[in-house]
């Protein structure tokens, strides 16, 4: 088989002067020259260079562009740490109900009770799921949830007259953890992981002092391991007045199995776009609610959705110790509707089954690959597993190469080179929505690549050859940045 020359247009390149796709109403108020309404200096002198295309151009162009993407709907997408599970279609229908979709954020509370109730219930449910006392739904994504959490910790210490400067973070942490911490004005102290891949208690002990505001860990961690000495960790921290933050990106592993609140965490964020099936949308939007223990409640972002004595719901702004706002409105409501729909669809047993199956699937993949790839850790994993292409690297085949070859074999690639502490890391998160058949196909492909690395590395180095473009020159892109289209 031969492939057709793929589509290679940008929308600007379809433009023809005087073509258009819009349909705007006629002016129905007494017409006035806009120039008489708005002083001339405010009126754009030349029209922007935007495409002039018809509706059929638009539909065909973006339909064709979509065909250049792999998505969960079309491909297995084992991107570790991202929980690329199936996104239920009913979520989409519910988020598009006109009473939600077409609701303005400044609609009076009396006329938005349904939306407020949904938010209140979702906050309550996430609190139950996490064992936290309160949840703010406002953060727009995980990183903003982290930011809110760290700021609440900061405010808490300050409220007690303590100005602490450091936050401890394991070396296996996701990049947002240190970045957030720095953003919140703390200096980051990186802790080493122990041999097994967990927090090194001795190293922790060494670093815990009165200048430490928080210890931020991911549970299960980015190696897919549950931090088994978690109670010890939280106790050690609390003994030094250190707050413990849980990065909840991996919540898909522990639904109904264990709760951050019960483990001693003071703060924990959720990524609704991971655990709670809101779609990833090519990079977002997501939602990153943050849960806290009661002692942090005064610092919650404003406004807080509250249930009033009469059973009605309202936005409470009167929170003088609040850290303030994170985005202009109340949260990524459209995502909240999806997550709410999902939680109601699943119920408690369904959520528990999610984690059981996520863990089962990851361990199955790990088992099937361990003969051909080096495991990053011993023992069972939680919802994802990390293997190293160390062996393949010796044959000249890197994690990147393997990722590219997988694309040719019909799979999106695992996360590569993360966590940073594993050489040539391939981080594989199958999620519970995938079947054994799919996992087997994927593992067969991985094993095939391991064989090819031994017998035909050229084939891997040439990959991908079935995608609309082949390997791209990243260096050129960065050296001579071309960040927008210009008329040739």
């Amino acid at each position: 088989m031969e492939a057709r020359a793929p589509y290679d247009k940008l929308i600007f390149e379809l433009s023809a002067p005087a073509r258009f796709a819009h349909s705007l109403p006629a002016l129905d108020v007494p017409s006035a020259d806009p120039a008489s309404l708005v002083p001339a200096e405010f009126v754009r002198a030349t029209p922007p260079e935007l495409p002039e295309v018809s509706e059929v151009d638009v539909i065909r162009h973006y339909s064709r562009l979509s065909l250049m993407n792999y998505g969960v709907d079309t491909h297995f997408y084992p991107l570790g740490s991202c929980t690329m599970k199936y996104n239920p279609k009913i979520n989409e229908d519910m988020a598009r109900l006109p009473g939600f979709l077409r609701l303005h954020p400044h609609t009076p509370a009396s006329a938005s009770q349904g939306a407020l109730q949904l938010m209140w219930e979702l906050g309550r449910d996430l609190a139950e799921i996490s064992g936290m006392d309160h949840v703010s739904l406002q953060p727009a994504a995980g990183a903003q949830g982290e930011f809110a959490g760290v700021l609440m910790i900061r405010a808490y210490h300050l409220s007690r007259g303590e100005r602490r400067h450091k936050v401890l973070i394991p070396d296996s942490a996701h990049g947002t953890n240190p970045a957030t911490t720095a953003l919140a004005g703390f200096s980051v102290v990186q802790l080493k992981s122990d041999e097994a891949g967990e927090v090194d208690l001795a190293d922790l002990e060494r670093h815990l002092d009165e200048d430490v505001a928080a210890f931020m860990i991911t549970q299960p961690n980015t190696l897919g391991l549950f931090e088994s000495r978690i109670h010890q960790i939280t106790e050690m921290c609390h003994a030094k007045g250190v707050q413990v933050y849980m990065d909840g990106a991996n919540f898909n592993a522990i639904l109904g199995i264990t709760r951050p609140g019960d483990l001693g965490f003071d703060v924990c964020h959720f990524n609704l776009h991971k655990t709670f099936t809101t779609p990833h949308g090519g990079g977002g939007p997501g939602a990153g609610p943050v849960g806290i223990k009661a002692h942090l409640a005064p610092f919650l972002p404003t406004p807080v959705v509250v249930k009033e004595d009469d059973g009605g719901f309202a936005l409470d702004w009167a929170r003088p110790q609040s850290i303030g706002k994170l985005q202009a409105f109340w949260g990524n409501f459209g995502m909240l509707v999806r997550a709410y729909t999902y939680i109601r669809t699943m119920g408690p047993d369904g959520l528990r089954a999610v984690s059981d199956n996520a863990v089962l699937n990851a361990n199955y993949v790990l088992k099937r690959l361990e003969g051909d790839y080096d495991r990053a850790t011993a023992g069972p994993c939680m919802h994802e597993c990390v293997v190293s292409a160390r062996r393949q690297k010796k044959l000249g085949v890197t994690a990147t190469d393997i990722a590219k070859r997988l694309l040719d074999l019909g799979f999106y690639a695992p996360t590569t080179y993360f966590p940073l502490i594993v050489d040539e890391a391939l981080m594989i998160e199958p999620t519970e929505t995938e079947s054994k058949e799919t996992l087997d196909q994927f593992c067969d492909a991985m094993v095939q690549i391991a064989r090819e690395a031994e017998t035909d590395p050229h084939k891997i180095h040439e990959a991908p050859v079935t995608t609309p473009v082949r390997r791209l020159d990243q260096t050129l892109a960065a050296r001579q940045p071309v960040l927008k289209w210009t008329r040739p």
């Binding site: 002016l27 129905d28 108020v29 009126v43 939600f100 709760r259 069972p380 929505t433």
Partner: protein, 447 residues
């Protein structure tokens, strides 16, 4: 469970292959005392049909803009959303993909972002735009942090014409680096240039204004920019790009960074989120920019292709030294905007602006003709304006709600000085009939 593919038989098979007796055995690392010993206390699973009924019930309690004439603005607007957008963004290949880490299998997303960057640069009049920030407010916060990092200065001169909710967000982001906002009062609806001139100093990192501002009025950006630049500060402008097909772009008036809420570009209001944080800047600032950037390059065969680029700015590479902590952004909203702008094209946004401003002025005239009602400010406005009412605005709002009119945003909660003020927005979607009905209802309500 319909979202879990493996059957009990397969689960057994897999456990056998793993060599584990049960899933429990795989959870060995979770200490017993960590285990939740009861089921989660959540409502039981609902069948799809029952759930739809429940959610329709909740949605039905809200006054959506399909059934109510929406004159609400203050950061979110009821602009028309052409039908193709929802159809296209719903294609699973867009919807269920993630950040294009593997560019060869993500050219669809990468190309749409590249188009988006081009469009935003063009609309704002700036050199470069990024792939999106969460919303207008957090985009503005990132701009302030960037101005701080570019100038090394810690003082932000802030016009009171900027959306007060944006101020609250920016203050949150200023907490860490300990930046200080210096407030500058308004004159008759726009930033008082004299006061501004006094406020800007050699310690000023940025002057922040909104265009049109929170009250709908048009700021003199060129003058503001001159004052800022005179002291080596950056001019940061918050501007809604949907207006910039009609209005002179901030880039042409001296802005160094332009941010804005892009929701008006085809993104549903959805009770305030997800929105679209637009972020654009001068080319020489690009390596200080937050967020993702897509660049053009070539593949091994010399064919054009697109990749995420300049990633050394980002958290996954630079960790605590990154320009921002943002990871997940709002790519799908950016796609909505890209399709919206494609549909509106070179001339459509101008028409949107013309319609909105004509209708807004007609409305302002009608409403201000109601006895006791007057325009709060005298400065030229665009599609939004503030009214001073003779009765408490929230009571008026309640009255008009009965007529299926969402009358506007009472500003008392934002500023005590505005306790009689109602902020009214008029998009191209509002009809003369709706405006006339509003005027009549307003007259009755304040009589």
């Amino acid at each position: 469970m319909r979202y879990i593919s493996n059957t009990p038989a397969q689960q057994k098979e897999m456990l056998a292959r793993i060599g584990a007796a049960s899933v429990e055995a795989l959870l060995a690392n979770v200490p017993a005392k960590a285990r939740l010993s009861r089921p989660l206390n959540l409502p039981a699973a609902m069948a799809e049909g029952d759930l739809v009924r429940h959610l329709r019930g909740l949605a039905g309690k809200n006054a959506g803009a399909d059934d109510f004439a929406c004159f609400l603005g203050a950061g979110s607007y009821d602009h028309a959303i052409p039908s193709p957008i929802n159809h296209l963004i719903s294609r699973g290949e867009f919807f269920t993909a993630y950040t294009p880490y593997q560019p060869e299998a993500s050219q669809g997303t990468l190309r749409t972002i590249f188009e988006y960057q081009t469009m935003m640069a063009e609309l704002t009049g700036m050199d470069v735009a990024n792939a999106s920030i969460y919303d207008g407010a957090s985009s503005l916060a990132e701009a302030v942090l960037m101005a701080h990092s570019v100038t090394g200065r810690a003082e932000i001169v802030w016009s009171r014409g900027v959306n007060p909710l944006y101020q609250q967000v920016v203050e949150t982001y200023c907490e860490g680096p300990d930046l200080r906002l210096k407030m500058v009062r308004l004159g008759d609806g726009v930033t008082d240039l004299e006061a501004l001139g006094k406020a800007v100093t050699e310690r000023t990192a940025a002057v922040v204004v909104q265009y049109p501002n929170f009250y709908g009025c048009l700021e003199d950006l060129r003058a503001v920019g001159e004052l800022a630049h005179g002291k080596g500060a950056l001019l940061v402008v918050a501007a809604d790009p949907v207006n910039l097909g009609f209005l002179t772009p901030p880039g042409a008036l001296g802005a160094d960074i332009v941010v804005g809420e892009g929701q008006g570009l085809g993104v549903p209001m959805s009770f305030g989120g997800p929105n679209l944080g637009v972020f654009a800047a001068r080319a020489d600032l690009v390596r200080r920019m937050p967020g993702r950037l897509v660049g053009a390059t070539v593949d091994r065969d010399g064919k054009r292709g697109f990749v995420l680029t300049l990633q050394t700015r980002e958290q996954h590479i630079r960790r605590e030294k990154a320009t921002s902590n943002i990871c997940t952004n709002v790519a799908l909203c950016a796609l909505m905007a890209t399709i919206y702008v494609s549909i509106m094209g070179k001339h459509g946004l101008r028409t949107v602006g013309e319609l909105a401003t004509a209708k807004a002025h007609y409305a302002a005239e009608r409403f201000a003709a109601v006895p006791g009602v007057r325009l709060r400010y005298g400065a030229p406005f665009f599609k939004e304006f503030a009214l001073t009412l003779p009765k408490a605005p929230d009571r008026v709002v309640k009255r008009l709600l009965k007529e299926r009119i969402l009358a506007g945003v009472p500003l008392k909660g934002f500023d005590r000085a505005e306790k009689s003020t109602l902020l009214v927005a008029v998009t191209e979607r509002r009809t003369k009939d709706e405006i006339d009905a509003y005027a009549a209802a307003l007259a009755a309500a304040v009589a």
